[in-house]
Every structure is written in C-alpha cells, then in structure tokens.
C-alpha cells in the first residue's frame, strides 16, 4: 500500500524492563507527592503504588504530564470486606480445605487485604495507566473512607476516566468529586444498592439451593468428608 506505514521489527523488541527504571519512577513520584505516597511494590515486572486519597488527582496529573503516562487503562474499585459467608458459601461445605480457610479468614479481621499494596480500609480505588513510549505500566491505589468513599475525579486528566468512574460509582458507590455527571452506565436508573460490594448478595446464588447439597452418599473412599457434609446447612 502507498500509505507509508511505520513499522517495527519484532527482533529488537524491548527486553523485560529492568527494575531500576521502575524504582527511579517511584523515587520521582516520591519527590512530587512526598508523604502522600504510602507504599509501593515492584514485583513480577509490574509496579503498584499506593497513595493517599488526597493525592489521587495529583498523582494522575504528575504521571501524565511529567512522566508521559498518556494511556489510561482502567479505573475501578475493590471492597476488602471479609464476607466469607457470602463468597465461600458453598465451597465450605465440601472442600477439604474449607475449615482451614475459615480459620485463616477469621484471623484477618474485618478486611481481607491483598498481598500487593493492600489497603487499610474497606474500599480502595485503583487505576492503571501506561506509558506507551517507555512501555511502562503502573497501578495506582488509594484507600477510601469506609463511611464516605469519595475521591477526586480523574476526568480532567484522563478523559477516558469518565465512564470508568461512572461504573465505579454505580458498582461501589464511590463519589468522584468534580466528575461532570455521575449517571448510571450499566444498571437501570432505578437500581438500588451497589452490586460489587461484598455485602450485596448475588441473588442467583441465594434463591436456588446448591445442587451439590442434596446428595446422601459420600464419595467412596473419602470418608473424612462425610462429617463436613452433614454439618452443612441445607
């Protein structure tokens, strides 16, 4: 074709980005954000940074304007509520690991918390941006207040954040200060509740009994499971 495409050979593809590059980026971010940068994890060739929610907007601005993180990947939320009953409702009944898991979860306290830059509060907002020139990605996280999860909107920095913030708003109930119009995007206007919160029951799993519960006979040769099954709530 005569369209003069620009193209690259794959042989000189970048090797796995060395970690010093990311460490340097974190250092630069720390210079800009100061104490607002709470922690960072640099693992698996990827970078997670947790910032204070006051610095959420600033972090986005700095990343885009100073460090060339042009590409907006996604923005979403997470609810760390330790609602084991809901999540493991049916696996507990039969899984050999279930009991141990139940104990482990009980030790955790009210929130589960992740391994990577996990939060201290129930809600976290997190977003990922990318620098297409340096082929470098970074995931930003910020803890939100339990009672009033609110954070500055990124719309002024990344226009693509618009829809993602609307989604996070309707799924988690996060408020994004400065967003031009937090309207429902997926759910009907009259929808009540925040579906992705852990205390929002998934109706499909509640109205119907789990078919795995109705049996009478244990698996042959797995007698130790029997006890667990009988203890199951019907």
């Amino acid at each position: 074709m005569s369209d003069a495409p620009t193209d690259d050979q794959t042989e000189d593809a970048a090797p796995p980005p060395p970690d010093p590059e990311r460490e340097e980026l974190v250092a630069a971010l720390r210079r800009d954000l100061g104490d607002w940068l709470i922690e960072h994890v640099n693992a698996n060739g990827d970078l997670w940074v947790r910032v204070d929610r006051k610095a959420w907007l600033k972090a986005g601005e700095v990343l885009r304007e100073k460090h060339g993180f042009d590409y907006f990947c996604f923005l979403s939320g997470i609810d760390w509520l330790n609602n084991a009953e809901l999540v493991q409702r049916y696996e507990q009944v039969w899984d050999p690991d279930a009991e141990a898991a139940g104990d482990g979860a009980a030790d955790e306290g009210p929130y589960v918390g992740g391994r990577v830059a996990g939060g201290d509060t129930r809600f976290q907002v997190f977003a990922r941006v990318y620098n297409v020139q340096r082929k470098l990605g970074i995931t930003l996280k910020a803890d939100l207040d339990d009672a009033n999860p609110s954070v500055d909107s990124w719309v002024t920095v990344y226009r693509g954040a618009d829809w993602h913030e609307r989604e996070a708003w309707e799924m988690y109930g996060f408020e994004f200060a400065g967003h031009p119009g937090l309207r429902h995007i997926y759910l009907p206007v009259e929808f009540e509740g925040f579906p992705l919160r852990k205390d929002f029951a998934l109706l499909a799993r509640v109205v119907k009994p789990w078919p795995g519960l109705v049996d009478k006979e244990p698996v042959p040769g797995e007698d130790e499971e029997e006890g667990a099954e009988e203890a199951a709530p019907a």
């Binding site: 620009t6 590409y71 999540v87 898991a101 990577v116 693509g160 995007i185 759910l187």
Partner: protein, 390 residues
C-alpha cells in the same frame, strides 16, 4: 500533536450546528435513538444523538443493555469455572479472553505451563484473532452498504472456527485453558489442516482488498472520517488497532514480556499515521495477514512435550494480586485478579475489556459528523457488545 484538519472541521461544524439550533433558529433539533435495537449496533448499544438535519450536535452512548455482571459472578466461582464465563466477553475470539485470565491465575498459583501448552495457546490466540477480525473486515462493508463482503468473511472464518472446534471442542466458547496448561493436546492432522486454512485466510484478505479497500466509494466514505489524534486516543484508553492506526507503535504482544510464544516468531506490528476510519480498517487487514503468518510459524515450530504443568497437591491459592493483559483482537484486554488465600475462586476480578474504552471516545468523536458517518465511525472502532457490557 495537532488536531488534523478534517476532525477540526467536523468539530467546528458541530459547534456551528449547535449554535444554529440554540440561537439562530431556536428550534429543538431532533433527538434520534440509534439503538438499542438497530442494525448498526450489532447488539444492544444505544446512542442518543441530537441532530441538526443530518449533522450530529452531540452524541451520548448508553450501554448496559447486556450487562451480565461477570465481575460479580467471578467472585462466586472457582478459577476453572471463570474461564467459561470470560469466554463470553468478546464472543468472536473467546479463546483470547481466557488466556490472560488463566495467565493471571497461574501467576497467583505460582505455576507455569510447559512450552508446548504456551505455543498452542499462542496458536489458538492468533486463530481467535483471525476469526474475530475477518468478521470485522466483512462487517465494515455491511455498515457501508456493501452486503457481499460479510458473507465472504463468514465463509472463510468458518474454516478457522472448524479448526478451533476440532482442537478444543467448542466453536465459540473453547474453555480450553486450564491453570497450568491445557485441557487436551491437538488432534492428529490438525497442524496440516491449519496451514491449509491460512492460505484461505490470506486469499480472503486479498479479496477484501479488491472488494472494499481498493474501492473508490469505500475510500471516500472512510478517509478523513473519525480522525483520532494519538494523544486523545490514549487519554481515552483506546488500544489495539484503533490506536495503532493513529500512529502509536504499541503492541502488547511485542512490548511486554510474556510467557506466550510471540517472542519466538518473526512478525511485524503495523501502524498507520492517518488515524481515520480507513487507517483502522487498513491496520486490521494487515494484522489479519500477520496473524496468518504467525499461525504458520507457530505450526512449524510447535515444540513437543507435555501440556500440563505439575500442579501443587493442594489447590489453595496464595494470597496475592495479579495483573495480566494481552493484545486481543479488539485491543488491550486485562484481568486484575485478587486472591484472598481461600480455596475458592478470585476475591475480585476486574475485567478490563477493550471495547469499553474504545467506544468511550464516541461522545468526543461524533460531534459534527453526519448520520452515515456515525455508523462508519462506530463500526471502524469495532466493538463487541459483550466486550463493552461484560
């Protein structure tokens, strides 16, 4: 980066139209609902457009008519049960959806699939790409009024789907990936057949070039329509061919370290500098050819060996978070999977689908264009409803 001329003109025209409506004529204009049921939305997307004549004053896409809540459903399923859900996100290239998810799960499990499994994954990934993009190449014709190309697309895509079915058992929803490897190895004779089919795919690409790309009418409808400057596109999170058509040389297959076999093949990332609908079509056409080339190479170099890694005896997933993204036919698809250390599935599974970001640019880009161009832009951005609504 400067805003290119046609886009600037369209923008000015849009503002002029709005001014006309508001002040000069003091008429109401017309609000047109494109969708939720409309031939051009191939699914249930709804775009509310305010028109002045045939010119769009503003546009407001509204999705969610098919929202299935996979992020919530994934939380009550195990890792293996989630693949069959994510198959249904971008339903034209289902296999490509399950690969990043399984890679993320493998990261959490801390296992790695053996090389043969990785090669077969890459192979089927690229075939999924062909199955997906061929349909776009024909479908674009339908949106512009040429009814024939899409039948060619269905015809030649069928061979690819047959092969996917022969290997995985599922034509549309393979569910072939397992944490640590694959469900089964390839059946006998599959590789030979695949290479024969790739010739047909290349022939199809040539036909599309003759039938559509080279057609002067097609060119007039596509050139200069829906120009996306690179910086704007990146800000909206456009990815894949959409952003490569704006001159951004970025392909996750090449630029990110991955366990999959792309690094072992000789292929090329195509970009185009125009950023208009024509460029997007052109880039995708080249990508299909490139994918056929990749499949050939992967078939030739398929290593022998097992297809399943040794899994730890107790399937208890360590606590952790993993982010894996791949270059899917529609753009960047990523999974952010959080494990809480329990025996069940993911604690949180954020699905970053390409189309959601790709069409979020619509309100920006549709201002000032004509109704027919709405359709052109819409389909040149190439979205799949399942990929928007998840």
């Amino acid at each position: 980066m400067t805003v290119t001329e046609p886009q600037q003109l369209a923008y000015i025209a849009g503002q002029a139209a709005e001014a006309r409506l508001r002040f000069e004529l003091e008429t109401e204009g017309m609000t047109l609902n494109i969708g939720p049921q409309h031939p051009a939305t191939h699914g249930t997307l709804r775009i509310i457009v305010r028109l002045d004549g045939e010119q769009v004053v503003w546009a407001d896409p509204s999705c969610g008519y098919m929202h299935r809540g996979y992020e919530k459903l994934a939380e009550v399923r195990k890792y293996q049960q989630v693949t069959t859900l994510v198959n249904r996100i971008d339903w034209l290239s289902s296999f490509c959806n399950e690969v990043p998810f399984i890679l993320a799960a493998e990261q959490l499990y801390e296992v790695e699939a053996p090389p043969r499994a990785q090669w077969i994954r890459t192979l089927l990934f690229e075939m999924g790409r062909i199955a997906n993009i061929t349909l776009f190449l024909g479908e674009m014709g339908v949106q512009l009024g040429a009814i024939t190309p899409v039948f060619y697309a269905f015809r030649d895509r069928e061979h690819v789907l047959n092969l996917i079915e022969a290997a995985t058992g599922g034509r549309f929803h393979p569910n072939y990936d397992r944490v640590g490897g694959l469900k089964d190895d390839l059946p006998k004779g599959w590789v030979e057949e695949t290479k024969a089919v790739m010739d047909k795919v290349r022939e199809f690409c040539d036909q599309m070039e003759d039938l559509l790309l080279g057609n002067e009418i097609f060119e007039r409808r596509m050139r200069g329509i829906g120009v996306i400057p690179a910086r704007v596109g990146l800000g909206y999170g456009l990815s894949g061919a959409n952003i490569r058509a704006s001159g951004v040389d970025w392909d996750i297959r090449r630029d990110e370290p991955s366990v999959l076999a792309w690094k072992d093949c000789d292929w090329k990332v195509w970009t185009h500098t125009d950023g208009d609908s024509f460029a997007r079509y052109w880039v995708r056409l080249q990508e299909t050819r490139e994918a056929a080339k990749l499949v050939d190479q992967l078939c030739d170099g398929l290593p022998s060996g097992p297809i399943m890694a040794k899994m730890p005896a107790r399937l208890r997933v360590p606590k952790g978070e993993a982010w894996v993204h791949t270059e899917n036919p529609l753009g960047e698809m990523g999974y952010y999977v959080v494990s809480d250390g329990g025996p069940s599935g993911p604690f949180r599974c954020k699905i970053r689908s390409a189309s959601f970001n790709n069409i979020s640019i619509l309100p920006w880009i549709l201002r000032g264009v004509y109704v027919p161009d709405v359709i052109t832009i819409l389909s040149s951005l190439y979205f799949i409803l399942g990929d928007i609504d998840r």
